[in-house]
Symmetry: C2
Subunit: 327 residues, 2 copies
């Protein structure tokens, strides 16, 4: 056990790498003081990641730090907000300086990429757990909600689905050791998700509703449908999957692989809805994106989520409704 | 294990009891949307409470909920901020509905008292831990910092010190079972701290520096001194203690009891500094307070914290510098 106090800890490892003009007072007082520009609203999301629930306790700490922030950035992306400030509650079983150095490096590298400043936090001793509060900003009235999808809107997703879920399943079946480039790609999708922050900001004033895919497409789109009082019909053959996903599911039952893409969590892509009349605007806007996007279905007046195959229009049944804690 | 999902959990137990006009969107989306008034700054503090570190796992859940919010409200008080919105990350080993009902009742009763709305959160399964992010508001530039105490300023505290620390020591020595009214008073000070929110708001534009006493007077005043680059001389006989404290320390060594008042944590009173010329203004302002206040010393140019006895001016030595995790 080190002689580091909790104050030293925060000072030592989490000293911010970037300094934003709107941070009046950062780490080091009872609370941070922040300047919210006029004509903007504050968007806040809180996420807790627990060892052996959201990640393995022996995962490399750089990745845990990355993922903790990525999960919250993904929430901001789904609201169309520009991320700004983060506070961190870190519960650790002991002061392991190399673990802390790597954890904070992973978190702060991603923070720097999106110009997010760590402005405060708390540390305590206990079973490994990371809680993170992210603050973002949107022009007044422009945050994207779950509740505004309308019948006839297109259902779209960024990137590819099922990669993280497949990585987890393969890791559980075969362990971590491998030298397969396709599995390495999938592992990276699971361990180092890329939050779609720039994409989300572009969707402001364009998407009618949005959510990030953390619990699986079925479950998360389900939240949009419930909040908006509508249903949706998805074409499962239109759901985008990666080459690595195709390669690693070669021996698998096709419907089983599809179900994974439709219901496995942790991809942190965006699912959004769009009036068909805005499709041209989306094409224009998405030219600056890091990822492709695809139309995968349509919002319906009839409630509920239905899947059809592409060619024949036959219904397709998904067994698993997505991951939820406490089930 | 219940069939409640994490979404139901938040909806069921943490549905806000009050609704603030400045909450544009509360619980139920990827993030909350909040309106920060022009000419105000945002003040944010994050606190983590871990079972068997900050409270006993078998403490009554109402009290855990109360204390989790009280700790953060106390940070707001120390900044002179009006508390506004709270988000909660709750990690629980299992879904125990009666535990959750009592925990949320304790938290929300205090939230209602200070017109704080719960606007979001996350739940996960794991070892019991509560992380809480509180958001407050101050008129631009009026937050009270730790760093502005000046030589010659008076050092003041609200309420009485050492009650919570004594309650904890007695509980550790003799267990919980007793029917002593004085010990009941001390227990209440430990388990249901009253954050000095109204007092803190009054101190805006009056106190030169402030901090809340969570780790003990010596340690917390030490933070003001370090941040302000000054020292202080405290008169230990002027440090206010309660009648219950006096009664329950009757058999104890006097210096030992004094050391407890000077260095035990968890009282959540405010320690603040004040230019002597503002003493009249403080007397005026403090008429509306729920608690008394006392001058206990003076800020000095010479760095470091020194204690003297009242009558003879002799130095007094405190053994314990205050509680810190990871020590």
């Amino acid at each position: 056990m080190s002689g580091l106090s909790e104050f030293d800890l925060i000072e030592c490892y989490f000293r911010p790498l970037i300094t934003r003009d709107d941070v009046i007072l950062g780490v080091g007082d009872d609370a941070a003081i922040l300047a919210v520009p006029n004509d903007t609203q504050l968007v806040v999301s809180m996420d807790a990641l627990v060892a052996d629930v959201h990640f393995a306790a022996d995962d490399e700490p750089y990745g845990i730090g990355h993922k903790a922030l990525a999960v919250s950035l993904s929430d901001m992306a789904a609201m169309g907000a520009d991320p700004a400030w983060v506070t961190l509650a870190l519960v650790i079983p002991e002061v392991d300086e190399s673990w802390l150095a790597a954890f904070s490096e992973g978190l702060l590298a991603l923070a720097r990429r999106f110009e997010v400043q760590l402005v405060g936090g708390d540390t305590a001793r206990g079973p490994l757990c990371v809680a993170l509060q992210l603050h973002g900003l949107v022009p007044c009235g422009q945050a994207i909600r779950r509740s505004s999808a309308a019948s006839g809107d297109l259902v779209c997703v960024t990137g590819t689905l099922g990669d993280a879920g497949l990585a987890l399943r393969l890791r559980q079946q075969y362990g971590r050791g491998h030298q397969d480039p396709a599995r390495e790609y999938l592992d990276r999708r699971l361990d180092r998700p890329d939050p779609r922050v720039r994409e989300g900001v572009t969707l402001r004033g364009l998407a009618s509703a949005a959510i990030d895919i953390s619990d699986g497409l079925s479950a998360d789109l389900g939240h949009i449908l419930k909040a908006s009082g509508v249903g949706a019909e998805l074409t499962v053959d239109a759901v985008p999957v990666s080459d690595a996903f195709l390669r690693c599911t070669e021996g698998m039952d096709t419907d089983d692989a599809l179900a994974l893409a439709l219901s496995a969590g942790d991809d942190y892509e965006l699912c959004f809805t769009l009036p068909e009349s805005r499709l041209g605007d989306l094409e224009e806007a998405a030219r600056g994106w890091d990822v492709p996007w695809h139309v995968i279905g349509r919002i319906t007046e009839v409630e509920g989520l239905r899947f059809i195959r592409g060619e024949d229009g036959n219904p397709f049944t998904v067994e698993r409704a997505g991951y939820e804690h406490f089930r």
